[in-house]
């Protein structure tokens, strides 16, 4: 698997507030690619939510006489697939699935990674060490092994694919959070809170977490990109979401044998994946720049 940007993200201590008129947001707005990414994400999301309602075709309606219509050649704007289904409708419905998979997998993997990372960072003794060794062990598995082995255990529905992706992408988050918490917990205000008798839970969620939010937000954004890509790889390897539900990944997978006769079947979903993933990566990059306080220095 490629392009796991969370590993690339070198994330530093940051505690800048995230407000509309904060210097961070200003920097984000100046980051033209990030703005482009954000706009593209919003546009794609809106199109996927409302687009299918405006189209005259359903994504699952089979009309075998209309099969393999090329794009811009008739009533089907982007053409039809081997069963004569409208590709635009399928692309948009697939976008719903793929984006939903991306977001939900991100939420779950972030939640898991944050919890484990926070506990491991806070309880530095045996608990922390044991948890981090577990994280290390999980990182020793080729992600493909986890994907293949676990996908054999579950039936390939949308929720299970989400779980699968989340299960293979929380480890990096845990590492990032653990490092953050470790460095934060020696800070004065944390030490003070401990001295004042605040409970561990309160310290973790009230003191530590908000101050570690910047790298978490960046990791989350990149995680969505990773999850969308992961879905397409899982589909490519034949463990993807079941037909007739379309996803960008399984559209691409099914298009392979028509690469010579109907190349648009592969080009369109491939382009959709690339656009979505690029946009998230742009936003993640912009956020990193924006939230990195060192940038305030001359």
């Amino acid at each position: 698997m490629s392009a796991d940007l969370t590993g690339v993200a070198e994330i530093r201590t940051a505690a800048s507030p995230f407000f509309w008129n904060s210097p961070g947001f200003r920097r984000f707005r100046q980051h033209r690619l990030a703005v482009f990414g954000a706009v593209a994400i919003v546009a794609m999301t809106l199109a996927c939510i409302f687009g299918p309602m405006l189209l005259p075709y359903s994504d699952t309606f089979i009309d075998i006489r209309q099969r393999f219509a090329p794009p811009f050649s008739g009533p089907h704007v982007l053409g039809t697939d081997p069963l004569g289904r409208d590709i635009l409708a399928r692309l948009l419905m697939a976008g719903r699935i793929s984006l939903a998979v991306g977001f939900s997998a991100m939420l779950i993997s972030m939640a898991t990674g944050i919890c484990i990372g926070m506990i491991a960072g806070f309880y530095e003794g045996a608990v922390g060490a044991a948890l981090m060794r577990f994280v290390d062990a999980m990182l020793c598995f080729p992600s493909i092994f986890l994907l293949l082995a676990i996908s054999a255990l579950i039936s390939p529905s949308v929720p299970s694919i989400v779980m699968l992706i989340a299960m293979t992408s929380w480890m990096e988050v845990a590492r990032v959070v653990e490092a953050q918490i470790k460095s934060l917990r020696t800070r004065d205000y944390v030490v003070a809170a401990v001295a004042m008798g605040a409970s561990n839970g309160r310290i973790m969620f009230r003191q530590l977490l908000p101050n570690a939010i910047a790298p978490i937000v960046v990791a989350a954004t990149l995680n969505v990109a990773h999850a969308i890509l992961a879905e397409s790889y899982i589909s490519f390897l034949g463990y993807g979401i079941q037909p007739p539900t379309p996803s960008w990944g399984n559209m691409l997978e099914n298009a392979q044998s028509y690469l010579t006769s109907a190349p648009w079947l592969a080009i369109l979903p491939g382009a959709a994946i690339t656009l979505a993933v690029t946009s998230f990566n742009f936003v993640g990059d912009g956020l990193r720049d924006a939230l990195d306080p060192r940038m305030d220095l001359p």
């Binding site: 490629s2 940007l5 080729p142 691409l252 690469l259 010579t260 491939g270 990059d285």
Partner: protein
């Protein structure tokens, strides 16, 4: 130094034990088994299948099977593949060459290209080149590899006929030229992604160094810009790259599974995929342990090298 090493090695052993347990459990609990392929053929009776399961020891309790596997492993016996009936190490050895050939070439290409793009981007920060390189890298990281591979095949093999549609070499023609010809396609695909990664690393590493005091001092002293960059900045910017190289070692060998599949490259990635599909337990476990050892070795070597290169780094575990 030696206590550090011993500690790290002990930790690594514990990790390997955990990895093997988790891997063994997932693999054996997954539905289907090594005999599924024979059930599919239909010419073996249920009695035959049951007998072979018995002969392979597959119907014993899982902990017993694990203990036996571990015991053999500790004595250096990696077991025999269920598919080939060949020793697992032998099978791994026979696939590693293809993967190394592909990965070394593409990594080398990516490192050179990536370093060039990264340095230039850092030096001319916010220039057109830098922006284009950034955009290009982002897009490269976002393209599904298999899709890019298919596009390469479609354009250069099917359309233009310049490149072969896959394989490591034409059967019966093992010449170097023929091999290089076959290497181009998968190499482009793999190098695209890694160039992006390397250039991003190189750029940020370089940027960090450029802002350091000693660089400013050097500039202030009137050292020519070219020399500042090459002599001072580049050398120091390479430091973090060592870590990254170390962490990159395992992927060199575990292979680019997807690229190998698209280009029918007979390497480790394909072996792993086939072994999982056929539930060839000994081979999958073998590859798993092999990769885990590499991951651990890679990070250990990276730490050691980093320490050697920069004595200021304290080794605290």
């Amino acid at each position: 130094m030696s206590t550090f090493l011993v500690r790290r090695l002990l930790q690594a052993l514990v990790l390997l034990l955990i990895v093997s347990m988790i891997g063994f459990a997932i693999l054996h609990l997954a539905p289907g088994g090594p005999l599924s392929q024979f059930a599919a053929g239909g010419d073996m009776t249920q009695a035959d299948l049951d007998r072979i399961a018995e002969q392979l020891g597959l119907n014993r309790p899982l902990p017993v099977q694990y203990a036996e596997w571990l015991w053999r492993m500790l004595r250096g016996d990696w077991g025999l593949s269920y598919r080939d009936h060949q020793p697992v190490l032998h099978i791994i050895a026979s696939h590693i060459g293809a993967t190394l050939e592909l990965m070394l070439t593409s990594t080398l290409l990516a490192m050179l290209l990536g370093a060039w793009v990264g340095i230039l981007g850092a030096v001319k920060r916010y220039s057109v080149f830098d922006s284009l390189a950034t955009i290009g890298a982002m897009i490269a990281l976002s393209i599904p590899t298999f899709w890019f591979g298919l596009v390469i095949i479609y354009v250069f093999s099917v359309g233009l006929g310049w490149l072969p549609a896959g394989n490591r070499y034409t059967v019966g023609d093992g010449s170097v030229l023929n091999r290089i010809h076959h290497l181009i396609g998968p190499c482009i695909v793999l190098a695209l992604v890694s160039t992006a990664v390397w250039s991003r690393y190189m750029r940020s590493s370089m940027l960090e160094v450029v802002n350091q005091d000693y660089i400013r001092t050097a500039r202030a002293k009137g050292v020519p810009e070219r020399q500042v960059l090459l002599r001072h900045a580049f050398r120091n910017a390479l430091l973090p790259m060592i870590t990254i190289t170390g962490l990159h070692v395992p992927t060199l060998l575990s292979g680019a599974l997807v690229t190998e599949t698209v280009f029918t490259w007979p390497g480790m990635g394909r072996l792993f995929l086939d072994s999982i599909s056929y539930r060839d337990y000994p081979t999958v476990m073998g590859i798993l342990m092999f990769t885990a050892v590499l991951v651990l070795l890679g990070s250990l070597i990276a730490d050691l090298l980093y320490g050697l290169a920069d004595p200021r780094i304290a080794r605290n575990g």
